[in-house]
């Protein structure tokens, strides 16, 4: 089983940190450095905590709250 992890696309992220607020297990945390676009993008601090990361990539995701909420469509899955 190949674990997946969420990733943030810095060309879309505007640093609103709502993903940090909504994630129930603390995957995200407020970032420190500025992206090329000029926003302070969150850091994926604890990808291993992500409920859906423990699934097979083809399996239907159960959480995805961050993807649902991200106003800039900046979060997606990335296979390792």
């Amino acid at each position: 089983m190949t674990p997946v992890r969420p990733k943030i696309d810095e060309t879309y992220c505007k640093g609103c940190n709502i993903c940090v607020a909504i994630c129930p297990v603390g995957v995200y945390t407020v970032g420190k450095s500025t992206s090329a676009r000029g926003y302070v993008v969150p850091i994926i601090k604890k990808p291993q905590e992500c409920v859906d990361s423990k699934r097979n990539p083809n399996e239907k995701k159960k959480c995805e709250l961050c993807i649902y909420v991200c106003p800039d469509q900046a979060i997606d899955w990335e296979n390792e």
Binding site: T11, Y12, K14, G15, C16, N17, I18, V20, A21, I22, Y39, L65, I67, Y68, V69, C70, P71, D72, Q73
Partner: protein
């Protein structure tokens, strides 16, 4: 259906402010639509004026961006003239609850088969932060610099009273429930009204001591309460300030005859 099958990729990144709840509504609506099985070629999106009204310009479908307050009137004309088209309306608290109030209550009364998504950010965002008919009392806006002296509308309760077949309200925190309600709204007969309490960090938040998108988001989340819990007999019905709470949930689900059936354009 992928996200950019539904939306116009050539117009990305979109225009909405950092942390704006409209972006969240775009996600949830797309998912609700993708699961509905509706034909995007046979769906028309009608928008009013304001930030929420900009959504249809981003959707890969026929869309009509109309005059302020009137999308329900235009939408009614489209639906009645060609009942085979699915018609979805995107509107906001000012567009629907102020200038569009008359069309709002009459469309609900007629129960015209429309799916109405109202993004309520408690302010007039596009024009720079003026008070709305849903701005809670005492809050600040650019036209209420000393505190709002008026009490707000509860748009969802208005929709219930006016006769809409399906009424639900969620905040942008309640993404899963919101998606489910939108999905129901898309497939239900008659007028379906889904109100989304949404964060406007730039105009609403900034003026009311909520100094980031996260803070407004948390404000919505912590002030929301299930309607079933809030509306009991002990509550003061005259307190139009909603007891300082945003009631959420499915408010009503009924099967009144839809307008199209009543006037005979649809069997």
């Amino acid at each position: 259906m992928n996200f950019f099958d539904f939306y116009r990729q050539d117009r990305w990144p979109h225009m909405f402010c950092p942390g704006c709840g409209v972006g969240t509504v775009m996600n949830t609506f797309y998912r609700a639509f993708a699961e509905s099985g509706l034909d995007q070629n046979k769906t028309v999106f009608v928008a009013g004026i304001g930030c929420s009204g900009r959504i249809p310009g981003y959707i890969r479908a026929d869309s009509l961006h109309t005059t302020h307050g009137r999308p329900l009137a235009f939408a009614g004309g489209i639906k009645v003239a060609n009942p085979k088209l699915k018609v979805v309306v995107f509107t906001g608290d000012g567009d629907l609850g102020a200038i569009g109030g008359n069309h709002f209550i009459n469309a609900c009364r007629r129960n015209i088969e429309l799916t109405v998504i109202c993004i309520n950010n408690y302010i007039y965002g596009m024009t720079g932060g003026q008070a709305s008919t849903t701005t809670p009392r005492d809050l600040l806006s650019s036209t209420t610099p000393f505190g709002n002296r008026e009490y707000p509308f509860d748009l969802s309760e208005v929709a219930v009273a006016a006769g809409a077949n399906y009424v639900a309200r969620w905040t942008t925190f309640h993404v899963k429930q919101m998606t489910k309600s939108m999905h129901k709204a898309l497939l239900k007969d008659g007028l379906s009204f889904v109100e989304i309490a949404s964060q406007c960090p730039t105009q609403f938040g900034r003026r009311n001591d909520l100094n980031s998108a996260r803070e407004v988001f948390d404000w919505l989340k912590s002030n929301s309460v299930p309607r079933s819990k809030a509306r009991d007999l002990s509550e003061d019905h005259l307190d139009l300030n909603l007891m300082g709470k945003i009631t959420v949930g499915e408010f009503v689900e009924r099967n009144r005859e839809s307008y199209m059936k009543a006037i005979g354009v649809m069997k």
